[in-house]
Every structure is written in C-alpha cells, then in structure tokens.
Symmetry: C2
Subunit: 288 residues, 2 copies
C-alpha cells in the first residue's frame, strides 16, 4: 500500500506524541518536529507508510540519543496483557469454535499499538472484538490452508500483543516460526521483547533484519526472505504488515484491527472493524 | 490562546483537506503541502492557531490563484441551514425559555465549520445541542448584561452558521452590530456571505479588516478596534474567536462547540460539549 497524503498529518502526530511520551527537552521536541517536517517534504513515490514511519522513529531515536525510547511503554503493555492471560485462557477453554476464538483474541491484542491510537481499554476491546463479526472473514480459507501446512510463519506486530498471539499459536497446534522486527521501532516486538515473555518455549523466533514496522521484503535479511518464500502459510498481524505486504503474492492471511481511515479505504472495511483477509478476498462494501 | 504543538498535525490536515476539497492538480496539492510544512517549521512564539490558520489558507489561495476557494462550500452550508429555518423557528416559538433556546440553536450552528471536523449531520447536531446542558453556562450573566446593554456587538464565525445566529439576534431584541471577517478565509462568513442571507435587514454589518479566522485586535482596522472597545456586550461565536480573544478583558461571552482536544484542555470542557463562557468562568472539571 502506498503512502497517501492523508498519512502526512498522522506521521507528524506520531512524531509529536512520541516526543511528548518519552521525556524530552523543548529543544529536542522542536528538533524532532523540524526533522519530521523536512522528511515529509521529500517522501519518495511508492514508499509505504511503514517505511516513512521507520524514518520518523529513526529521527526520534537520533534526537533523543536513545535506541529504544518505547522500552517502558512496551513493558507496560506486556504487563497489562499478561494480567489478562488467565481470563483469556478461560474464554478460549469455553469456546465452541476454538480456532475462531483464538483468532479473535489475537486480533483483539492488535489494539496495543502506539501509532494510530494510543488510548484504549484493553478488556473492553477484547469483549468487543470477541462479539463483533469480522468485516472480512477468511477463517474458512485459513482453516483449510492450516490443515495442509506443516508449519506456520507468524509475523508478529506489537509488544504485549505477543501475549494474545501466544494463545493463537497454542491453538494452531503446528510448529510456528514467529517473526519479530530486526530492532526496536515504535512499540513493535523485538527478539528481546519476545524472549521476555518466554516465546522461545513456544516457537522458533526469527527477525526481519530491518527496523521497519512492517515487511519490506527487499530490505529484509536474505535469511528472512528465504523463510518468507518457502512458508506454506503466513499469518501477518496488524496494519504495518498489511501496508507492506498487501501487494505480495503468497499464502498470506492478514489479521488486524482497522485503526485508521486510510487503511479502511484501502482494505475495504470500516474503521473499528476486524479483518481476517486472504489476498483477493474483500468485504461486500469494497468499491473498486 | 497560544498555538500548541498538538495543533501542527491539524494545520497540515486542514491544508490537505482544503487541497482535496477544492479541485486542484497534483502539483498544486504538493505545493500546498510543501509550503505548509515550511510554514510549520517557523511558527512564531505566541501566535494563536487562528493566525497560523490564516497563513495556511493564504498559501492555499496563492497556490490555487483563487481568492475564495470555499465559496461553493459556504453556499452549500447556507442552503442547508436555510432549509432548516422553518423547523428552527418552530422550536423557538414553542420554547419555554426563548433566550436559552436561541443561544443553544446559535451554538448548534457552530458545527458548520470546515476546520476541525467537516463531517456532521446538521439536524442531529441541532437535536443534540438543544438537549445537552452546556459544560460551562454563563446564561445568567449574559441575561443580566443583556438587560443593561443598549446594543450588542455580535462576532460571527462561519457562513451557514449565520442563519442560526439570525434567530438569536431576533431574540435578543436589541440593536446588533454583526461582525464578519475582512475577506474570505476558510468558510468564515464575509460581508458578501452575510448580505446574501439578508443580514443587512437585521443588523448593522461591519468587518474586522483582516482575513484572520478570529479577532487579533492589533491587526484589525481602527474602526473595528473602536467598536470592540466601546461595546457594552460582545457575543463571540466559535473556536477561532475564542482562541484569539480568550486573553482579552471586556464584557465578552463566548458561544461555541468544543470541537478540538486542544481547545477542550484550554477552556476546561470536554470534546463535544457546548460552552457559554464569560471571562473567568470555568467548568468544575477545569484543572488550573
């Protein structure tokens, strides 16, 4: 998905929110804003929002001189999610359709995102997503592909969300390779974040080799590229992975919450909806 | 009220929405965005959001080579408001407290604003504002000042909103001097817009002498400055007038809908609330 001009104010807002969230001096704030404004003047054609986001967050890191300004935010998110784990397990244990419920819980966890909308009540979101039919629903296709796949490449998104993904991974009952970012960027999960919640007990963990909050294949490590090309089934969480992979061919299923109007328009599902999307599958409301 | 850094993304969003609303070439869109980004890099300390907004809209006019790009939008707003006039009159005729109802209707009309949030259902807003107690309510002070004033200086805001203001002016039952902007800026009402709906039958109309969507006294015409200083009661509609006059002393009452989080914080009333505010009067939730 390309960067639309509607994304520009959102990049600026994210830069400002980041500057305010991680404690900075007024000069640092001004520097972050100035550099972001300069960046927005020179966005290359065809760049995805995730790539521009990566550059915004590189500016923030460079101005602050801090490699992982969201470390505290990520820890808080993980703690918050872990606190719900017993209730989430109970929901899953009592579910009629375990896979469908595990998918919804994993998508509920996708709210833990400090890009588009940092304010939410986690439990309220879990309840909403559990009872809300996905606007695009490729669960049947996923079920079929899962039955035939001997393993799953699971591309994660945010720290904290990993806790919700754990339940889905357990439910899949297949070997899973879990993909994290190649380094800290926004609140996306890294190797350290995944290890902190014991993901190595659950799945093989690999990283993309880049600090982009999405998957720009040409910039990923050769190792990751091979893993991606060979995977019999890929689950990709969140908007960043959708933005960067929506034009790729392959056995991908996107699992996400629609949290921004630009994605809503692109994917053909309303704001606030949830999506389980295989390539080529659209909601009925999509105008093409 | 000063410009907060939270306002920056909103300026950029307004520039982009304006560029998309008035039909432009891709080059013009890019030019508008580039010049706005450059402007945001050099915001002078202490400037109000209305002054920056004025500069954003000057960029838009200059790039488009059009003096009043919102002319069509303003005509549509006026037509939409005029269509409701019979129902609004009926509401007012049946009101127990005519002044209070006329104030609320006038505030309902303040939704007709293409700055912060251009999407709304006008009738829905009228119903909501009629039944929603103002978060800050200086109606009693206004009533008292009105009884003692021999005329009212009424500072208008947007085209279309003027139709709602007409009902309030009729209810005030005092001579009114109605203030419009010195030239087209966003969808704010100008002399031409006011004349188009026959305001000259109702009130003396004067303009500020500037194209700022608010009242920066030092930049207004000497005539307007005298009018402002001598007025026994001033009603000021909308956020732009609040932003620029909130630090002025005088017999001012602000009438507005809170449509942006920065104003909400500054005025001490929640988003979506309505406000009838005299200087020094705050909601109980205001933390100072």
């Amino acid at each position: 998905m390309q960067t639309y001009i509607d994304c520009y104010p959102c990049f600026l807002r994210q830069a400002i929110e980041a500057a305010q969230m991680v404690s900075t001096t007024p000069t640092q704030k001004q520097d972050i804003i100035h550099h972001t404004l300069e960046l927005l003047k020179h966005i290359p054609e065809g760049a995805t929002p995730s790539e521009i986001g990566a550059q915004v967050h590189q500016i923030i890191r460079e101005v602050l001189g801090v490699d992982d300004p969201y470390q505290g935010v990520k820890r808080d998110a993980t703690t918050k999610a872990l606190a719900l784990l017993p209730e989430l397990r109970m929901i899953l244990d009592n579910a009629e359709d375990t896979l469908s419920t595990a998918l919804r819980l994993s998508i509920a966890g996708n709210i833990m995102d400090f890009g588009p909308n940092p304010d939410y009540d986690l439990w309220e979101v879990v309840m909403r997503v559990l009872h809300q039919p996905p606007a695009i629903d490729a669960t049947d296709a996923l079920r079929q592909q899962l039955a035939e796949a001997d393993y799953v490449l699971f591309i994660g998104d945010n720290a904290g969300e990993t806790v919700f993904d754990r339940l889905l991974i357990e439910t899949l009952a297949k070997p899973v390779t879990y993909v994290v970012r190649g380094g800290p960027v926004i609140n996306d999960a890294t190797m350290a974040d995944a290890l902190e919640v014991g993901f190595d007990q659950l799945a093989e963990i690999i990283d993309t080799g880049t600090r982009i909050p999405g998957i720009v294949l040409s910039q990923c490590s050769p190792d990751f590229q091979v893993q991606f090309k060979n995977a019999p089934l890929i689950l990709a969480k969140g908007m960043g992975n959708y933005e960067t992979l929506s034009q790729e061919y392959g056995p991908i299923i996107f699992l996400l919450q629609v949290k921004c109007p630009v994605i809503a328009r692109d994917i053909g599902a309303p704001m606030g909806s949830t999506v389980i999307k295989a390539p080529g599958e659209h909601s009925e409301s999509k105008t093409r």
